[in-house]
């Protein structure tokens, strides 16, 4: 399978840079953004398997950013990054469409595993879509 392509959105620039470097050395293709609006702009220009998204950001927070991201690409796999002791915030984010959440500082190998799972899940969703469309087409044509 191709490298998982991930967009990492967090306003803590130094954290983003060091985590991205470590992910790249593990074969993940990482793009970065330091605010919700910048992340949304990148997600409309490029295709990603998953987004690693910080909840607490200045201005547009993680939940609002996720809402825009999912409106644009419903199959995007959003993994939320929360502070310590913010499990309830992570659970809330899952209710709003995130597929998972991770507490900072976040174990790098756990992140890699989650991105691989996200890539597979996204692929499966697209396969389901194609299968559904084929099935509808065949029914319509009476094949």
């Amino acid at each position: 399978m191709a490298k998982a392509r991930v967009l990492f959105i967090d306003d803590e620039e130094e954290f983003v840079k060091v985590v991205s470097e470590r992910l790249r050395s593990r074969g993940i293709d990482v793009d970065t953004a330091f605010s919700g609006p910048d992340g949304i702009a990148k997600a409309t220009e490029h295709t990603y398997d998953a987004v690693l998204l910080d909840l607490a950001m200045p201005g547009m927070d993680g939940l609002e950013t996720m809402k825009h991201l999912l409106e644009y690409d419903a199959h995007l796999q959003v993994i939320i990054l929360t502070g310590q002791g913010s499990v309830s915030a992570g659970v809330e984010a899952i209710k709003h469409g995130a597929v998972d959440f991770v507490e900072k500082p976040a174990d790098i190998d756990t992140l890699v595993d989650k991105f691989s799972e996200a890539q597979e899940k996204r692929l499966a969703l697209f396969e389901d879509d194609i299968s559904q469309k084929m099935s509808n087409l065949m029914r319509k044509k009476g094949w």
Partner: protein, 230 residues
């Protein structure tokens, strides 16, 4: 007021004080967690570099220097946060004391910076030149100032700056909090803030209009004009 009502009132006040303490510590520890997270990931990067060296990828001295500088930068940032939180926590040591209002408000502004930043609002603190000493409860004083800052932030405009200014006056000392706002505040938050200001031995005045809000907390000060405490 009946003893029962008095008891209830005391319990209510206590909850508010705990809420204030909780809001500050939650914000500060969140920031501290970011610092620790960067240090932890940077240590992980060092491990990655060592693992690479074992596989024959040489470690660059420049990269090592960069990693070391990042750890030092975050350590200093963390120490600054801990120092500010420690000064804030010690405000509860004595209910009545003499304190430097510039130091206390300056520290509180730094602790409030992240909460303002989440609303994309900057904070600017202007201390007095004379470092007036105040007599009273520094914790309650801080709660009043924090309440004023939070009140202006709650209706503040993003991408603007809220100014907190200390000013020594002939009969006392004033803390004003001013910023651009998007609308009028309801009576509730101002009534709560007025009660906290009174508890801190001060009074609240509100000026609002033209898209600006200015909250002034007026206090009496000790006549001492000695220099800043260290």
């Amino acid at each position: 007021m009946s003893p029962q009502e008095a008891g209830d009132s005391g319990a209510e006040l206590s909850r508010n004080e705990i809420a204030f303490f909780g809001k500050i510590t939650a914000s500060v520890t969140h920031e501290l967690n970011n610092v620790i997270s960067i240090i932890e990931q940077t240590a992980g990067l060092l491990e990655d570099m060592i693992a690479g060296e074992e596989r024959g990828v040489p470690i660059s001295i420049d990269r090592l220097a960069g990693v070391s500088a990042a750890i030092q930068r975050q350590t200093q940032r963390g120490l600054g946060i801990i120092g500010r939180l420690n000064r804030f926590a010690h405000a509860t040591d004595r209910p009545e004391t003499v304190f430097d209002a510039d130091e206390v408000v300056g520290n509180l502004v730094e602790l409030s910076r992240r909460l303002a930043s989440l609303r994309k609002i900057g904070l600017e603190f202007r201390p007095t030149a004379t470092a007036p000493k105040m007599s009273g409860n520094p914790f309650v004083f801080q709660r009043a100032v924090f309440g004023a800052v939070q009140t202006v932030l709650a209706c503040g405009l993003a991408d603007h700056t809220v100014t907190i200014e200390n000013r020594a006056e002939s009969h006392g000392f004033k803390v004003s909090v001013e910023g651009a706002t998007s609308g009028e505040l309801g009576e509730g938050p101002l009534a709560d803030l007025e009660a906290v200001a009174e508890e801190a031995g001060g009074s609240l005045t509100v000026e609002s209009g033209g898209g600006q809000m200015r909250l002034c907390l007026q206090f009496t000060v000790l006549p001492s004009t000695e220099g800043r405490s260290s």
